[in-house]
Each structure stands twice: as structure tokens, then as C-alpha cells.
């Protein structure tokens, strides 16, 4: 008789085991079908939570993702199906994630309030009694935690529940991770497209060829940073064989900066019809920007007007980097300091205009802050002193030699560091007399 009872017991156990296996399989089958073609990681997580709650019979659930690249390793993304519970659960899940990162295994607490592992949690809501949580593992790393709260009917979470949640988590981790990676990839693509568009707009604004101005050797280049800044340069022909040139830097990056540059270019070409005064062009540009630009934008700009016949150049600045002047007479490089503040900062700024005579052998170098603020690995900047030394060394060459030499010096200085801002340089050289 005893053996009959044993046989029945064995059969019953086997039956239970089989029923559980079928249940588990059907839960997984359900989950796989539900997740199916969802690519939105939020929706995937919501589905995983919902299926877990249904399979185990719990009231609330959360998936907390561990942010890998964050400055604070504990920073988490919280997703819950009950939004009202966010705040209280945040501190609780912070604790759970901390525990998981160390222990990497499932955990049950059927009495949170008297559990040492959760002592001292702030603002724990009365409504949360018990928790069952399991890590979302990928390649032996905790990528997140799936937690469910309060088994329905006042029951306690048991080992069967723990096993089932662990199986669900094992199935879900890869899918959630894939959805996240997919999303990151898509976001990157959108960003790349915007960067490309900004670069296209910016590049279209630069002159395609440099003008031939009698008595001047000219070289110019603008090298956009990966995420395009707002550098701009141009040469505009004026009446009476005068030439205007401009170098400018719009605050900000990307498309917004490129749009402001586009507007600035149109403005300058319109004004070029009015007469050859860099000072009044700056004053007028400021007036137009004040009426049209958002208040947090500003533009630094340096304008020059060249009169080749009289060998004169007039300069005015709006808070742009001071040009470097190599004087053939003095044999040294010094900054040309001019008063004038960036455009769009105030209504009626005072603007100074400087007139210089172009002497054979003189070199004028105009640049954007991407040159002087180029950084090396030690976070040191190229700076005005290195720029001065470079230009003193190179003044003998052609404008092109000087420009290339300067870019090489900057490149050598920064080493492998990524260029973080646009770099623009214009070199104007007054050629020395032949044989001189």
C-alpha cells in the first residue's frame, strides 16, 4: 500500500512539474508573440512588465535600466505601469539596483518594511508590501532590474514565482537591449543627418574662389568641426575697385547657427551696396540683428575694406579675435586691438575704425577662436602667444605658406584631440618688391 501512495505522490509531483513547465512555456510563448515586432524599447519594457504581472499575479512592476556611460553609475531610467507610484519607487529601486549590481541574482522580500536590505529608504509608500526582483543580465553584466510588487490576494511571493520571473527576465534582456541599441542607432542617424545638413548650408556660404586683389597675396580657409560651429568668411566686391572681407563667428552650433549665418551673409551683401565703411556696416548689422535674433545669440565679426589703389585697409570689429599684424618695418607680430563688442549684445555700441597702410612685406592674419582655443590632451590652448610665435617664424612665405604652416602648427599642438570648434583663417600678405 505504501508503495501505491508513493507512486501516486510521484505522479502528482510529476503532474505539477509538467503543469508548471507548460505554464512557463505558455508565458514565454505569450511574451515572444506580444513583443514580436515591437522596436520601441519603452513598449517592449511595458509589455514585459504587463506579462510578468499577469503570469505571477502581482500589482505593480518596474524595469530599471542601469546607465552605463553616466557619470553616476546608479543613475537609472524608471519605467512603471503605475505612474503615480514613480516617486516612492524611485528610492526603492535605487536600493534594489545597488543590491543587484553586487549580488546578480533574484531576490524576494515579502515584508519590505522590516527587511534590513531596505532600511532607511525615504518616502516608501504604505501601498508597497512585498517585492520580487530579478536582474536583466547580458554577458554576465547587470543591464537592468525587473521588479514586481505586491502579490495579489495578500499572498507571498514564492520560489515558483522567482523561477518564472527569472525565466521571463532571461528571455527579455536581449530583446530590451536590442531595442535600446536600435533606438540609439536611429537617434545617431537623425543627428548625423542634421550635422550633414548644417555643414552643407555652411559650406555653400563660403566663397568658391578667392578674388584677385591687386597688390595683395590672399589665402583663406575654414575647417568645420564635426558638429559644425558658426564660422563664416567671405570677400565681397564693392564699388570703385574696393574689396570688403569678413570673418565672423555665430554663437551656437549646427543648423540654428547656419541659419543665422545665412541671414548675416544676405545682410552684408545688401549693405555692400551702401558704401565702403566697415564701421557703419557693423552698426547697421547690429541694428538688424537686434530686431531679428533671439536674445541669447550673438555674433562676433571683423570687417575690412581694402582700397588697393591707395594701399589702404580700414578695419572694424564686433568683438572678434584681434587680427595679428606682422609689420615689415618693425619685424614683429602684434595684435591690432580695436574697440567693438559682439553683435546683438546692446543697442548702440561704440565701434572704432582703424586705417592701416599696406607696406610691402606686411602680413595680416585674421582668425576665429577655433584657432586660439584649439586644445591639446593636457587641456592647454594654442593661444595668442603660440600664434604670434608661429606668424613671426612664417612671415617670409607666401600667404598660402603662412596659412598652411599655421594649420600645421595647430595640428601638431593638438595632437590626436578632436577639433571641437570651427577653425577659420584669412591671411593677407603684401608681397615684398621683387628681390627685396
Amino acid at each position: 500500500m505504501a508503495s501505491d501512495e508513493q507512486a501516486i505522490k510521484l505522479l502528482q509531483d510529476e503532474n505539477t512539474r509538467l503543469r508548471r513547465a507548460v505554464e512557463e512555456l505558455s508565458v514565454l510563448n505569450d511574451l515572444a508573440r506580444a513583443i514580436g515586432s515591437i522596436t520601441d524599447s519603452n513598449k517592449v519594457m511595458e509589455t514585459v512588465i504587463n506579462r510578468s504581472l499577469k503570469a505571477i499575479g502581482a500589482e505593480q512592476g518596474i524595469i530599471t535600466l542601469v546607465e552605463e556611460d553616466s557619470a553616476t553609475p546608479m543613475k537609472t531610467l524608471v519605467r512603471s505601469i503605475t505612474s503615480s507610484a514613480h516617486r516612492e519607487q524611485f528610492h526603492l529601486t535605487q536600493n534594489i539596483v545597488g543590491w543587484m549590481l553586487i549580488n546578480k541574482k533574484s531576490m524576494i522580500s515579502n515584508d519590505i518594511r522590516n527587511d534590513d536590505r531596505f532600511r532607511g529608504i525615504r518616502g516608501l509608500s504604505e501601498s508597497i508590501r512585498s517585492v520580487l526582483c530579478t536582474p536583466l543580465m547580458m554577458k554576465n553584466q547587470v543591464k537592468g532590474v525587473l521588479s514586481i510588487f505586491n502579490k495579489k490576494g495578500g499572498k507571498q511571493f514564492g520560489d515558483d514565482d522567482k523561477r518564472l520571473l527569472a525565466i521571463i527576465a532571461a528571455q527579455s534582456a536581449q530583446i530590451i537591449e536590442n531595442a535600446r541599441l536600435d533606438e540609439q542607432e536611429r537617434e545617431k542617424l537623425v543627428l548625423e543627418r542634421e550635422i550633414d545638413a548644417a555643414r552643407e548650408v555652411q559650406t555653400s556660404l563660403f566663397p568658391r574662389t578667392l578674388p584677385a586683389i591687386p597688390g595683395l597675396d590672399i589665402a583663406a580657409v575654414s575647417i568645420p568641426a564635426r558638429e559644425v560651429g558658426g564660422d563664416y568668411y567671405d570677400f565681397i566686391q564693392l564699388e570703385d575697385e574696393h574689396w570688403e572681407f569678413v570673418i565672423a563667428d555665430v554663437s551656437g552650433k549646427g543648423l540654428p547657427a547656419a541659419m543665422i549665418t545665412t541671414m548675416g551673409k544676405g545682410m552684408l551683401y545688401a549693405q555692400s551696396l551702401l558704401g565702403p565703411s566697415p564701421k557703419s556696416m557693423i552698426i547697421n548689422s547690429n541694428k538688424i540683428f537686434r530686431k531679428n535674433l533671439p536674445k541669447k545669440s550673438f555674433v562676433t565679426m571683423l570687417l575690412g575694406v581694402i582700397d588697393p589703389r591707395r594701399r589702404l585697409m580700414r578695419l572694424a570689429t564686433a568683438g572678434h579675435c584681434p587680427p595679428m599684424y606682422y609689420s615689415a618695418e618693425l619685424h614683429n607680430v602684434s595684435p591690432l586691438l580695436l574697440n567693438g563688442i559682439a553683435l546683438n549684445l546692446m543697442d548702440d555700441p561704440s565701434v572704432e575704425e582703424l586705417e592701416v597702410t599696406l607696406q610691402p612685406g606686411d602680413v595680416f592674419t585674421f582668425y576665429s577662436d577655433g584657432i586660439t582655443e584649439a586644445e591639446n590632451n593636457g587641456r592647454n590652448q594654442f593661444g595668442e602667444e603660440r600664434l604670434t610665435a608661429t606668424l613671426e617664424r612664417l612671415h617670409d612665405g607666401t600667404a598660402d605658406d603662412i596659412l598652411r604652416g599655421l594649420l600645421r602648427d595647430v595640428q601638431d599642438f593638438v595632437g590626436g584631440n578632436e577639433q571641437s570648434d570651427d577653425m577659420t583663417v584669412i591671411v593677407l600678405k603684401v608681397p615684398p618688391p621683387p628681390g627685396g
Binding site: A71, E227, D249, S251, G252, K253, K295, K296, S297, F298, T300, A318, G319, H320, C321, P322, G340, I341, A342, L345, M346, P349, D369, E373, R379, Q381, S420, D421
Partner: protein, 99 residues
């Protein structure tokens, strides 16, 4: 792994805050979010700020313009020489209370 954050915004008490590290395009948004919480006069202490880019200047400008609309001042104190130089070249020394 560098433990020190690139940029930090620290409350020093009253309406005074310290900026430290680098204020560039990648950290400017963080400062903007912090400054947007205020609608009364504030003082920014810059003795630990090593670098400011045009994006950083833009955020300070926006905050100054916003505060001036409610007649509140944005005061900036203790600038390092290289940061002061950037302020001066661009002309920010003319529109900010620099101390």
C-alpha cells in the same frame, strides 16, 4: 575614468553659485537648466572656471536678458584671467556686472 566632472554648478548659499571646470557647448545646457530656475538677482563665482566658449557666453547672456526683464541683476565675480580675456574680447565686460 575621471572622477571629477567636466563642469559643476554649486550652490554657495544665498543667491550665490560657483561654476567650475569648463563651460562649453556640451555643458552649457546643464547651466541653462539650472539658471532657468531663478527669477531674482544671482551672483556667479567663476574662480574655478577654466574655460568658457561662445555657447557658454550665450547661456550667461540669455540669463542676464531674462533677469533684466524683471529688473534683477546677474553679477559675475572672480574671473580667471583667460576667462576675463574672452569676456573682454567679445565685449561681455560692457554688459555684465563684473566684479
Amino acid at each position: 575614468m575621471s572622477a571629477k566632472p567636466v563642469f559643476e554648478f554649486v550652490h554657495l548659499g544665498e543667491n550665490k553659485f560657483s561654476l567650475s571646470g569648463r563651460l562649453d557647448a556640451s555643458t552649457a545646457e546643464q547651466l541653462e537648466a539650472e539658471l532657468n530656475k531663478f527669477s531674482s538677482a544671482i551672483t556667479l563665482e567663476l574662480s574655478k572656471l577654466n574655460y568658457i566658449s561662445s555657447a557658454g557666453l550665450g547661456v550667461l547672456l540669455a540669463a542676464q536678458q531674462r533677469l533684466s526683464e524683471v529688473s534683477a541683476d546677474l553679477t559675475i565675480i572672480s574671473l580667471q584671467p583667460q576667462v576675463r580675456h574672452v569676456f573682454e574680447v567679445v565685449g561681455f565686460d560692457k554688459i555684465f556686472n563684473l566684479e
